[in-house]
Subunit: 234 residues, 2 copies
Amino acid sequence: MGGHVRDSEMASLDMQVLEKSMIFRSHARGDRIFSQGDDPTGLFCLRSGHVLLWHKDSFRYKTAFRVVGPGEIMGHRSLFGDDAHAATAQALTSCDVCHYPGDVVLNLVDQYPSFARCFFRMLARDRGPRDALVLRGQHIPIRVRLVNLLLVMMKSEHCDKGGACILQLPVMRRDIAALLATRPESVARAIKQLGNERVAIFKGRSVTIPNIDVLYKESSRVVVPTEARSSVTT
Amino acid sequence: MGGHVRDSEMASLDMQVLEKSMIFRSHARGDRIFSQGDDPTGLFCLRSGHVLLWHKDSFRYKTAFRVVGPGEIMGHRSLFGDDAHAATAQALTSCDVCHYPGDVVLNLVDQYPSFARCFFRMLARDRGPRDALVLRGQHIPIRVRLVNLLLVMMKSEHCDKGGACILQLPVMRRDIAALLATRPESVARAIKQLGNERVAIFKGRSVTIPNIDVLYKESSRVVVPTEARSSVTT
DNA sequence: CGTACCGTTGAGGTGAGTCAAAGTAAGTGG
DNA sequence: CCACTTACTTTGACTCACCTCAACGGTACG
């Protein structure tokens, strides 16, 4: 703790400590990597597969707010906040996870400003359920929420710009519903509608999108008829 | 940047630098402390008055997600995330604000692990629009959302436990609506209902709550009839 | 005593939730 | 390879909370 070391030296010894302390673990579909209410034990890094993060509120209502893909990190929020996990991480597919013990990570963060900066950025940007504003706002029709979800999902995939593109969803309908804070039935209806209008054709978990621009247009379509709403002045 | 100093020394010289660089500013009701889309310039600390943080989505729909009270901080998210402000801060009352330049703050964060920890905690815990889950979930009836808002507001106030208590709201109906992601009309109706049932009596901006326990009971009332919903297994 | 907000009330329409049931895909075991 | 189970998905009918629109009552302030 006492003295601090130069950033540049980071890569060497301490990185080895971090790697040495890492625990590798494999999970089957449905397994929980951690559960809401658990105390944080460290940082989780997903190496392969997909994981869904969902929160169960006091109404016993489950709302998913993030799909974690390979290379992404989870559990940072409760680690740094020193709070119990606010969400449950559940494997959507079989997957491999690296676990870095909390104290080791926190130590490194204390010692290396550049390392710390990296997490600052992540924490500040990861608004937890941030996409919520787009995906879960109830003033937004489910159809539009679904389109937005598709666009979010497509960011991680590489897709032919301009032409048609096929997207493989890592989630089932039920989870889509949880992500959009709605019910599977409503999702099904929206999917059908999008299919009829040839905006996005769903077939099981693969989605064909004839024209991405149509999606974009749809995603920002102003549904609210009247002018912008309220607050303080204006 | 190079060498780092011991934590304990923090209080002395560098704190003075921080205080010296601080800019004090007064705002009138309706003024914007910063606006959505602005580049971050530093950290804002509210000394007196109240401020509302709201976000305008691509549908030009405004949703408030936080009421900032005296002593609280704002703007940290965009500062550390190095992102444009995702929200607008607007004075609900006349208020005094301290502004700490970003580079000075970031410098101190780099140098003092304990200082950094403090912000880590704040960032990790401040889920931005996280109360959203409770306050804006559309599966929750407006009446319950309103009760939750009252409870949130009461945390900052000191209130007689057990007995009746009077709460002074810093916001008008329109803002309450924005906080609950609904319309002023719906808020009015919910308020009337709560009044009729003597759960919370609104008179302008002051609210009388005969029995807090009733509020608590109401806030966690399970409205969803069927069992917990969805996701992966179970 | 208007003007201008803010807040309330009423009437009407609708998106989406609920319930129930049928259809489909995916494992499992013989 | 086919019955059989189980889980997931879709459909339809019904209901309701909330949004919208529109009008009216209050209060503050010039």
